[in-house]
Symmetry: C2
DNA sequence: CTGAAAGCGCTTACAG
DNA sequence: CTGAAAGCGCTTACAG
């Protein structure tokens, strides 16, 4: 049974008001009294009850984070940064996962509202979400919904995609398969856009049969690669819009005996740790995960501290960079 | 401003007691009244205040999870399973990360105590941790401390290590470098033990120069591999005790121009997604991540539900399996 | 510098 | 079936 404020106060012969003030470092407490209270609390292993404190002070000291999936390398990295930043500023983090299911998202937002989170980082899975408490600042991370007036922090999706395709075009590829995830996500739309723009700038177009949309899974990456490989004529290059898709595509290529990059070039969006030890090391667009997490945290924290004179919503796009390895060859 | 119980009650012309009972599905509420309350709550987007509920009912509905690092594939996977299981049983999860720092661990445990968690999953980083509230059931996951009477769920560390070494021995390797992480972790000790036991069973021994202990990072994996490679005579095989270490070792091998498995064989503990697309695909001992997470959750949940007639601590070791790929060749 | 008191939003015996 | 009341453990004006 953990000690309560009351017990500490009694032990020191002071009121609970005084004990509370001493523990919370309020000014205007006799230093000797403060010492006594601190000592007693230390001895008893006193821990304030968060629920009571939150209830009374009307602030939970907590920020909610809603994301699709903890296993995804990108989200895991961002979340690690968020958690560290929030902790440094005295906030706890409460996590909810949606698996890209709008119903789960709805439920997650409810739960976080019940937890009285003071701020929210959201990787939206539906185009129109609702948060019960309109006073809570929200930042959309990576993906964005169609809601107006919400801060968004993402990487340069369109530009990244365009750089990859430009790189392929520069090496003579013209028939390029584009493998992407869920079409309803803003990231997918933007990556496809970027690819399309690059092709059109070169006087080419993205043939419908070469655009393969499915889900951000290894399985779909593999299936889509096989589909692309069965096309007539075959594409000379494949662009996968995430590392999971690349994993599947690479595996499928190895199974089909398609040598990368001799038979087909492969380039991906994202750059997990293992891209440089795979067979072959993959050329890719490195997403600025750390920065996205950091900027998201800073933006939310500045909204929370209220010293954000500018009340307009921000839209931050963080630059990434092309990393050239061995998976792309000239035609 | 989210609606409170009081407002809902007033709107329906009932007392807050009745509104509370209706919302919480207590028996003995007039169905018509219940309907009215539910409807009003729905309209108002009512969400109960967790803090108030936790304070009054003395149960937070929350389980704490303390782990070293969210980026680690093993912990991310376990945590995903834990979160899903806890959610299914009506518990929220609150996460704390220690970065293998005992001081951070101490602080994390305090924070979770303040949050009144009802149960705790802990990947311990110190040999003797303390949780302020002795009534809270704790399960140690993956690693274990030296505390008696605590449930532990882990994979078969010793056996996995032994299987790997036996496999190498079977192909004629006798000079095998063993690269491990932090020596103070139980997992490290057990993996080293397993390796040593396998060697001794074959009438060999683990030479001190061949045991390279550092940290579970890519950087240490690379450095240790370079050290091993500079030994005279060179080892013919390298065993890395985690996937991060394997990543570093593989990268170092590629940089040194050491062809795996022609010049040196490589085998690892753990089996992340990408092991089968790297160069070469890695032979390894597959850790049962899902199962470890699942069993941990079930064990803690059964302690919480109190229907655990057996009060003795459990020590569960989940079996893994050897996965043979292309990174090991006969001498 | 300190204490008595109110009250945060709920749940839960208790009485009717 | 319903309501009035107590109280969970704190914080915070308010009075001294």
């Amino acid at each position: 049974m953990p000690a309560s404020l009351k017990q500490i106060a009694r032990e020191c012969g002071v009121s609970i008001s005084t004990a509370s003030r001493a523990l919370n470092g309020h000014p205007g407490v006799n230093p000797a009294t403060r010492e006594r209270v601190l000592a007693a609390a230390g001895r008893a292993g006193y821990r304030p009850n968060n629920a009571a404190r939150a209830l009374r002070s009307r602030s939970s000291g907590t920020i909610g984070v809603v994301l699709p999936d903890m296993l995804n390398n990108f989200y895991a990295a961002c979340t690690a940064v968020l958690q560290e930043q929030f902790e440094q500023h005295g906030y706890g983090m409460v996590l909810a996962v949606t698996r890209n299911d709008p119903a789960r998202e709805r439920e997650a937002l409810r739960r976080l509202a019940s937890a009285q989170v003071e701020g929210l980082v959201l990787v939206p899975t539906s185009r129109r979400w609702e948060f019960p408490d309109a006073r809570v600042p929200v930042v959309e991370m990576n993906r964005h919904s169609s809601r107006a007036g919400i801060d968004v922090v993402q990487s340069e999706e369109r530009e990244g995609s365009r750089e990859i395709i430009d790189h392929l075009l520069g090496l003579g590829h013209e028939r390029i398969a584009v493998i992407v995830g869920e079409p309803q996500f803003s990231t997918t739309a933007e990556r496809v856009d970027g690819a399309r723009a690059a092709l059109e700038a070169a006087g080419l177009r993205l043939a419908p049969e070469l655009l393969l949309a499915g889900r951000h899974t290894r399985a779909w990456g593999a299936e889509a690669f096989r589909t692309a490989w069965s096309l007539e004529p075959r594409p000379t290059a494949v662009f996968t819009a995430s590392s999971e898709l690349a994993l599947g595509a690479l595996h499928a290529a190895q199974q089909l005996g398609a040598a990368v990059p001799r038979d087909v070039s492969l380039a991906a969006f994202g750059d997990p740790d293992w891209f440089d030890v795979c067979r072959p090391p993959l050329t890719c667009f490195e997403q600025p995960l750390q920065e996205v997490g950091m900027i998201t945290a800073q933006l939310l924290l500045s909204r929370l501290s209220g010293d954000q004179p500018d009340h307009r919503a921000s839209r931050v796009r963080v630059a990434g960079r092309l990393v050239i390895r061995d998976s792309v060859a000239p035609t």
